[in-house]
């Protein structure tokens, strides 16, 4: 299936409340999905026999600061069976009290494990129901999120010390 057919199929299944604004660039389509429906959409993408997206290439994050909602989580997926690719993303925001939160897709693609852990530590996004929500790359005691736009590139002596205290 080509990108347009995949997009149409998703629209037919979920409708405009779930699937927002398709964006097409150089024949690649990106669909924005309502964040609270991400699990249902991913499940459909994997289990529908015509789509059969059995391979999650990566999960990544984007900080759109100061735009609102602030964060995007991007899922690049591929079907080894049909040899087609697709990209979906979801926008989430954090508040004063609540971190940006989205469901983990670990239950659908096990690849999501490390990718979500990295996205979580780099952006401060919480992946709900992740089986192992430790940090992946950064020292365990750091509390900062280096890939946020408002993070000072060099870090600080207090937040990113050379050695553990």
């Amino acid at each position: 299936m080509n990108q347009l057919e995949i997009g149409d199929k998703l629209l037919d299944k979920f409708g405009l409340e779930v699937i927002e604004t398709p964006a097409t660039f150089r024949d690649q389509m990106t669909l924005t999905v309502a964040a609270d429906k991400i699990l249902a959409v991913c499940k459909f993408l994997k289990e529908d026999p015509e789509l059969a997206f059995d391979f999650l290439s990566f999960v990544a994050g984007v900080d759109r600061h100061p735009a609102k909602p602030r964060f995007e989580v991007i899922y690049q997926i591929k079907s080894l069976k049909h040899n087609h690719r697709f990209r979906i993303k979801a926008r989430i925001d954090e508040s004063e009290t609540e971190p940006a939160t989205i469901d983990s897709v670990f239950s659908i693609w096990r690849t999501a494990d490390w990718h979500e852990r990295e996205t979580a530590e780099m952006f401060g996004i919480v992946f709900r129901n992740h089986p192992d929500p430790r940090k992946l790359l950064l020292p365990e005691e750091w509390t900062v999120h280096p890939l946020r736009k408002d993070f000072p590139l060099f870090g600080t002596e207090k937040d990113t010390p050379d050695l553990p205290a």
């Binding site: 790359l137 950064l138 020292p139 280096p146 993070f151 000072p152 590139l153 060099f154 870090g155 990113t160 010390p161 050379d162 050695l163 553990p164």
Partner: protein, 168 residues
């Protein structure tokens, strides 16, 4: 002159310090570990084309307890730093350190939150070998300079003190 001639030139007279220094520099065993891309140039320096065996350095020791020289070859990330310091602490004295490459010298292009801005913030570096990465010739030049430095050391009467710096 003197005593050697009476013994048919079967002995050689020198001072003890020179002899100790000569022994140390002639078989200075490097620690076999690499941190980043500079390690590949270091490996190239060890093997046949450049052949560090010419300087008595062909045995890269996997155990820090056998090694005399730590070649910090590459980027030391903040997560790797505790391991590097621990390896250094395990090396027997006397021990020397070469900072190989721009990253080990200064942090190099990685002026960011994740990389130690020069291993000399924590280890007493003897020779800096700049380059990104340095060619094997550069590393060998650094090693020969270290050998010259060892020959000037007062190894008996005024030995070096070895301490890991506490913070930058």
């Amino acid at each position: 002159m003197g005593i050697e001639r009476h013994l048919n030139d079967t002995v050689h007279v020198t001072n003890l310090e020179w002899f100790v220094n000569w022994a140390r520099k002639s078989s200075m065993w490097p620690l076999g570990f690499g941190l980043a891309c500079c390690a590949l140039e270091m490996i190239a320096t060890f093997v046949s084309r450049y052949d560090l065996a010419r300087f008595g350095m062909e045995v890269a020791r996997p155990s820090p307890r056998h090694a005399d020289l730590m070649i910090v070859s590459g980027t030391a990330s903040k997560k790797m730093l505790p391991a590097v310091l621990r390896i250094y602490e395990q090396m027997a004295e006397p021990r020397w350190v070469i900072a190989m490459g721009a990253c080990a010298c200064t942090g190099g292009i990685y002026k960011n939150y994740a990389v130690v801005q020069g291993i000399d913030r924590y280890l007493p570096v003897d020779v800096y070998v700049p380059g990104c990465p340095p060619r094997p010739e550069s590393l060998m030049d650094g090693i020969l300079q270290l050998h010259a430095k060892v020959m000037r050391e007062q190894s008996i009467h005024n030995p070096r003190t070895f301490e890991i710096k506490k913070g930058a």
